[in-house]
Subunit: 206 residues, 4 copies
DNA sequence: TATGAATGAGTTTTCATTCAT
DNA sequence: GATGAATGAAAACTCATTCAT
């Protein structure tokens, strides 16, 4: 099965309704926001009863945390795989990372939107955990940029800030991407890679 | 008085508690999000009673709309003023627009955050109005980019998309800016201007 | 108006439904216990809506605390008044205290039952406050007993424990008293006074 | 094994988890009250699953009934044994009955507390059965008192009411007894016996 | 303009209980 | 006997909003 529904982040876990519930939560949070979505919404989308939700998840906020954790895991896995297959030079590593990121957005647009907008409603350990995972993702980009700045590939005077700028620009894509839009998936990746390289002030040898 | 509290978007309107209420709403929506904030929150922050809110505003969603409208008006005014004072060439117009935008974020960070995150919860005419205002702001940037592409200042192959990328990168600044951060207000503007010009592929005459 | 409904602990406070709510809570807690009574029960008995309860009381447990506080205040006031009018010797002071206590039970049987059975469900400051008030009431009896033991009126070898035994025996009356029972109000007081004096081992000069 | 945990009312019945469940229920009801304790609480304390409870007991209220029945059986057995070994005169019979009662409280304090506070939540046949058992226990004391009054050992003018007063004073002990308190088990029994005899107005030949 | 009281629908969460395995 | 999943009702409490004053 190649074509996933964009909101299907979690595949069947073999544990009853779990996948359905997590995907339903993603959908609901994506549509109404964390506070705007009710547990009833989630249950309805998951095709189960409100109270049964609590056999799988102890609270609404833990539900959000779980969904975000899975989204981040998937993104991290994709980034890792892409970089494992990439060459050694900073420019192509950056390009591969951007491509993987864009593909993640295309496949899991809602997850990206929710990740961006709703983390702030986590608290305590859930928030700390997510922030740590997110920082790890950011470090991946910072490392690439640092490498490129060291070897002269990138001329930006603000390496870390620029890495973050690249990331926020990327994640903003989830806010406007439409599957039926002007650009194909590949073209979108190409565009974003070009933005990234330009922003990092790579020579325009392209 | 020169130093405004960052959340104070609306100055005294001469109409009782109106300014206090609008600023309180901005604060509350900024802290908890539209759905996470309650009218009670707003009333408490404004130092008035819950029911008195409804003497100024007919509903919670109209309160959000009003707040967002004022934020956008202020941003538009600042952009307009900055461009009126700017030169004729695309690069310096872009630079001035970025500077004004950054200064708006620094002065009204919460307003920018709320603008970015909570518009989606408006509906009907309120939403349409806001989107139109926002499109007008975007057009300002698109026009500058178009001018620069026409006269060869900018080499980007995606003028409109790049203009939007510049804008989303800018508004993302509101998500992480801290008054006590590493960069001064001026340095921040400088950095963002450089990102913008790089992203638009202006010659690296810098 | 002389004949009060037994559950009417709180007279009109001039503040909307407050008295009705407190009396309704007393009734509900008396009938079903704290955990067995729902806020809906209370609202129904008070003749108002569930949500309106929360304009008067911030939580169910604070409602219990408030009810118990008022009950204890009334009991303390009655004890104080009775002792102010009593003679100086321990036996007649004890007798008057018992009479006042019994009259309180007769007038506010439900309040006494709830006081006895439901304090344990209070927590934190509410519980501490109530326990302190209750200790003060107990001290009144301990003082009388101490006086009587000192001047030879009471022969009990366990003054403090015996004072407590008297009190628990008294409050247990609330568990079985019926207005239409065998004993009149006065006879009941007489009986309990006799028990108390006997238990304290006063000479059987009776 | 001589030293029982105070809450262990039921010894292994040879039927799977039954004893654990009944003891867990006793604990839970003792801690939170009948309505404040949930079947989940009970299951957790018993170390089994929620649904497995229903293999042993058909409903929550029957669980309470069962626990109370066992507590009362144990108390009745102890009273019976104590009286079988006692002499013939009312004073020593009363003394032995009080001793047995106090020992029951010391061994099964929680059971006594639950018995006292939660019977009221039983309904129908369960309640009727318990009340009958309790009346039988009360009759034991009433008989002793009647005997004593008949032969001049006790001078109380209210034989039946006084018997009940003795019983409620005794059961109230469960409300404050602490294993590490001032009085030993034997001293406590001695004290309560003295209260009882005094209350019944036995001559102070002690 | 301002308030406290009022309301009905809604919130998240827990309840006792049942059922398929 | 034992479990995890399921359910509908109910819990306490909050919501945006209205109204009388």
């Amino acid at each position: 099965m190649n074509a996933r529904s964009p909101a299907t982040l979690v595949a069947d876990t073999g544990r009853g309704n779990e996948a359905a519930i997590l995907n339903a939560a993603l959908d609901a949070f994506g549509t109404h926001g964390f506070h705007g979505a009710s547990m009833r919404d989630v249950a309805k989308r998951a095709g189960t009863s409100l109270s049964n939700l609590y056999n799988y998840v102890p609270s609404k906020s833990r539900l959000l945390a779980e969904v975000l954790r899975r989204a981040n895991d998937e993104l991290a896995a994709r980034l890792g795989a892409a970089l494992a297959d990439a060459g050694d030079d900073a420019a192509s590593r950056l390009r591969e990372a951007v491509r993987a990121y864009v593909r993640f957005i295309v496949d899991h647009q809602v997850a990206m939107v929710v990740s961006t907008n709703e983390v702030r409603y986590l608290t305590g350990a859930d928030r700390a955990g997510l922030v740590a995972e997110r920082d790890a993702t950011q470090a991946v980009f910072e490392d690439i940029v640092a490498q490129g700045v060291a070897d002269g590939t990138f001329a930006t005077p603000y390496p870390d800030d620029a890495a973050r700028a690249v990331l926020t620009a990327l994640s903003a894509v989830a806010g406007w991407y439409r599957a039926d839009g002007r650009l194909s998936r590949g073209q979108l990746a190409e565009q974003q890679a070009r933005y990234a390289l330009a922003l990092l002030e790579a020579p325009l040898a392209r």
